[in-house]
Amino acid sequence: MTFAQFIYYNSPALIIAIPLLAAFLTLVFGRISSMLRNIWVVLSLVATAIVGLIIAYRVSIEGIIIYTFGVGSPGMAIPVDSGGIPVRILFEIDAMSSFMIITLSIATLAAIIYSIASDAKSTGRDNFYALFLLLTLGGYGIICTGDIFNFFVFFEISSLASAGLIAYRIEKGFAVEAALKYAVISTIAGIMVLIGVAVLYGEYDALNIAMLAQSIHWTFLDKFALVLLLSALLMKCGAVPMHFWTPDSYSLAPGSITAILVVASQVSLYGAFRVIFTLYGVVINAFTFGWIIIILGVLSMVVGVTMAIPQKDVKRLMAYHAISQTGYMLLGVGVGFALLGDKALLDSIGYMAMEGGIFHIINHAMYKGLLFLTAGAIFYRIGTRNLNKMGGLGHNMKYTMIFFVIGALAIAGIPPFNGFASKLMIYESVFLFNPFLAVIAMVVSILTLASFVKVFHSIFMGPKLPEYAHVKEAPPMMLIGMGLLAAGVILFGLFPQQVVDLIVSPAAHALVNQQAYISAVMGGA
């Protein structure tokens, strides 16, 4: 078969195989020349993004894709003589996974182009780029996998790679402390996931998500495994109860890595949704459980904004805003899950709320990534993140200012930008569900706008300070990286309805439709 058909049919495997081979070869090329290695890293990430788009295209045509590793033909999930048990590891990519693949691809491309320029002078860049590739690999693996133990392995890859990357600037020691906190938290989260997986294996002797989803029936052990799996994943996605690692690691990691960390925590949020909707789905008492997620979401929103106001460090302020924006996603999808029970309410409000929450994931990944890249550009030029010491940068860093304005308006939910589209969907649906929650969401959004106006004023406005007179604009590669995200923010802001119909509503319906997920593997059982 031709090369194009080969890429088309093996795309689920290639989206993992290409970054992995690229990571190993980066170390070899790094010994030859740093230019060759930079080109190689950017090329391999562009290739991975293309394969990701191919997968998204395939999912839009064929629905759920099954790719089994280690057999003759990709579709053969269950061997003939095994009596209906999926024995090997398989990738199961539905509309929700392809949505997350698009999110990760956009953020990875922007971050790698940005980091080629921003880390030009620093040492140890072989390891840096190899870890960068492994981090994206972990993200793709968590998104596509259909096997819980494989989920745990990719979960560990992404948490170890990001711990190593957070500690990149070790001169002052703060980054190492932030990385240690992150490593301890993600190791404990990994252990909790492992206990959950082991308990589920002990009970049903199955490691395939679809097989488990079919055979789970609400015994004590299932509740125990659900509590552990869910708390571990919510711990990793920066929701309120365990959010104290987010400000440290986001503010001290290099700019490009923070943009990827934002998406990595959205991916573990996706993992939490996968556990709730697909693994357990109808078994849980949807209403009470939905309310738990809603309360977590509201708490994240409120705590994130209130902690953000007094911050003096730009990146730490943005990190707290990231926590509050994660609260929006939890609120949106939580309302959707709470209404899973009754069909009528689900169709009217539930799907709209879930689409708002899911749409907010990609919007947040883009504008928060853009904001962190602009903060990194400022740090790259003037060496400090302290708001009190900045001022009057608007004069000489024009493009960075424009990108910052785009990002700030998008996060505050101002109409022409993408933040507004998803927040509007969340407000409308949550208002019908419970008006009080919608009011809180709006107040939080106003506070976000206020704090970003303050930040904008203290960085860019004001007289031209003497010590920053010589400051030049950020290097062109960094501007390209930021431009990519800014274009995404504007594009999604101007055509929200098309984007929602194309990728977001199929994702919401795929997440809710547990039966399709199971029958894709178990064969219409």
């Binding site: 195989a17 070899v28 280690g70 003759g72 033909s73 990709p74």
Partner: protein, 157 residues
């Protein structure tokens, strides 16, 4: 800070036996208990015994650290290369394309206990060997880095 005489003498005598046992565990991974990871770890212990017995300064001259890094990434490239070759056979990624074929490691094994034939297992022995190489180099590099961190630590703080 070299260890005492007894330790250095044992560090001179023991490693050949540990390395032999480690390589045996790697090579017979698909027949007897063991495999790539366990064998690689045992072989790394053999080398690390020598490293720990002598001070880092003596060892740093003898062992080229970046050479180990190259071997580690080469081992991993071969592992994933064997996975890629499955594509040439039209199968999915990571398929065992060597099993039940006239190629090396391809002989058929009927069900039931048997004394074990080294020439079986398809791509299994390849994975065993190269993952063993990767684990061996990986663990050695980690310990070498930590020892260098120790030396540097005493120097600067």
């Amino acid at each position: 800070m070299r260890m005492s005489k007894i330790v250095t003498i044992t560090a001179d005598l023991l490693p050949p036996f540990i390395l032999a046992f480690g390589l045996y565990v790697i090579a017979h991974g698909h027949l007897t208990p063991g495999g790539g990871f366990q064998g690689g770890a045992v072989t790394a212990t053999g080398l690390l015994l020598m490293i720990v017995a002598y001070s880092y300064k003596d060892i740093a001259k003898a062992i080229r650290q970046d050479r180990f890094k190259l071997y580690e990434s080469l081992g991993l490239i071969i592992v994933i290369g064997v996975g890629y070759i499955a594509f040439l056979y039209g199968a999915t990624f990571f398929t065992n394309w060597l099993v039940n074929t006239p190629l090396p490691f391809g002989t058929y094994v009927p069900f039931g206990p048997n004394p074990g034939d080294l020439n079986t297992g398809g791509t299994m022995p390849l994975y065993n060997i190269f993952v063993g190489v990767e684990v061996f180099c990986g663990l050695t590099i980690v310990v070498l880095y930590m020892l260098s961190g120790l030396e540097e630590g005493e120097g600067s703080s």
